[in-house]
Point group: C2
DNA sequence: ACACCGACTGAACGATTGTTTAGCATGCTG
DNA sequence: CAGCATGCTAAACAATCGTTCAGTCGGTGT
């Protein structure tokens, strides 16, 4: 933990405070983290935290907005590179959660924070979920237009079902890692998870897809 | 809020404290709920809470164990009435989450508490999830033995996938209610959700099942 | 009758909470 | 140079936290 920021950290103290509180909020929840903990993690005095953000609540809101922005920027990259193929079984990124994990640095606290937001009964969380739902709807529309999936009797529910399943992987990641022995969002884990998921999405629980091994180039 | 327990409440003060803290923990999280809030909700002094449970942490552990017991008792009823048919597409209760909601009184705080446990990175949460996972495995085994579903290339992952999807409905209930306009765990909502889910599980995203309307008795 | 015990409370304990205040540097601007 | 905002801290603020303590009350056993 020593020398974390001692050598050439060109972030302003304000940015450091924001980053450190983002990290602490993601791990422990905004309610239980104290201003003094944040100040200590950022290497400043508690008074400076209030000086820059007005109050702990002000800091909380700014961190929320910051995460929302990061998330939105990441969505921009995703739709930019793969269009409506986010849920496309043929694409490499077969899961929104997996793409999410791929587009952020390894130790980033943002995923944990987003997880907390999604489950948090706040406007920020509602906004986030609504955004993902709209994305899921348009992705399903794209698949339907391409003949890759049927819109179903109730497209709204079908899109919600696919989104919920995708997010479940993200929300229950740690629990699934425990019972499976592999992090389902890691490369190895995805290699186990994706075929099973795609098989069900392709033909249901009874389908027996051809053995995917030994395919000619 | 008046007269909540004023007329013939034969619970002991200890039980009232436990119930009220269960309710408050479920809503706000154990970390942010204060002993004084619990005492006020139970209509007793803060000192009595400590007198009965040793400390706030002691109370917390006892409530955890209590919820675990309630949950286990409910699982007993479920497996007693429907055996391995918990995930059976043909059974009326097509979702574990839905059965969960059905077997508890309407305003019960237990589901919200269980939700918090499942997401909480505690031994109690791990225990709970492991229990559900084992149930999902045996349910999948049962379906496979009955020829109703293939075990898949990786049965462990397939069981985890089905469980995660089921729990997603439970974890994201409020968010799904917002975007769908219907609580997916209510009777009306399940009538929309179940056919879509069963259709995908039966034949994948491309299947077009026969219109289920106008069927002769 | 007395002693005892468990349920229970009011008041206080020290620790910790978010926030305020006064003041010290530093650097820019006139 | 003076003036003034900016970044920042040490110290203290009242409020609230979990917990402790002394003591009251109602019953139960002897």
């Amino acid at each position: 933990m020593l020398y974390m920021r001692s050598i050439s950290d060109d972030r302003t103290s304000r940015a450091i405070i924001r980053d450190e509180s983002l990290r602490l909020f993601a791990v422990n929840g905004p309610g239980t983290v104290t201003v003094r903990q944040i100040a200590a993690a950022a290497g400043v005095s508690p008074a400076l935290v209030v000086h820059h953000f007005g109050s702990k609540e002000g800091l909380h809101q700014e961190v929320d907005q910051y995460v929302l922005d990061v998330f939105e920027a990441m969505l921009g990259e995703l739709t930019g590179e793969s269009g409506a193929e986010l849920l496309d079984p043929k694409s490499g990124a077969s899961s929104l959660s997996e793409a999410f994990a791929r587009h952020l640095p390894d130790g980033s606290p943002v995923p944990a924070y987003v997880r907390r937001l999604l489950l948090s009964d706040t406007d920020a969380g509602r906004l986030l979920f609504r955004r993902l739902y709209d994305l899921s709807r348009s992705a399903l529309d794209g698949l339907a237009a391409a003949g890759l999936a049927a819109p179903g009797q109730d497209p709204a529910v079908r899109a919600a079902f696919l989104l919920a399943n995708d997010l479940a992987l993200f929300l229950l990641r740690d629990r699934l890692t425990e019972v499976l022995g592999t992090d389902p969002l890691s490369a190895d884990g995805m290699a186990r998870w994706a075929p099973e998921m795609l098989s069900i999405y392709a033909g249901g629980l009874n389908a027996t897809p051809p053995q995917p091994q030994g395919e000619a180039p």
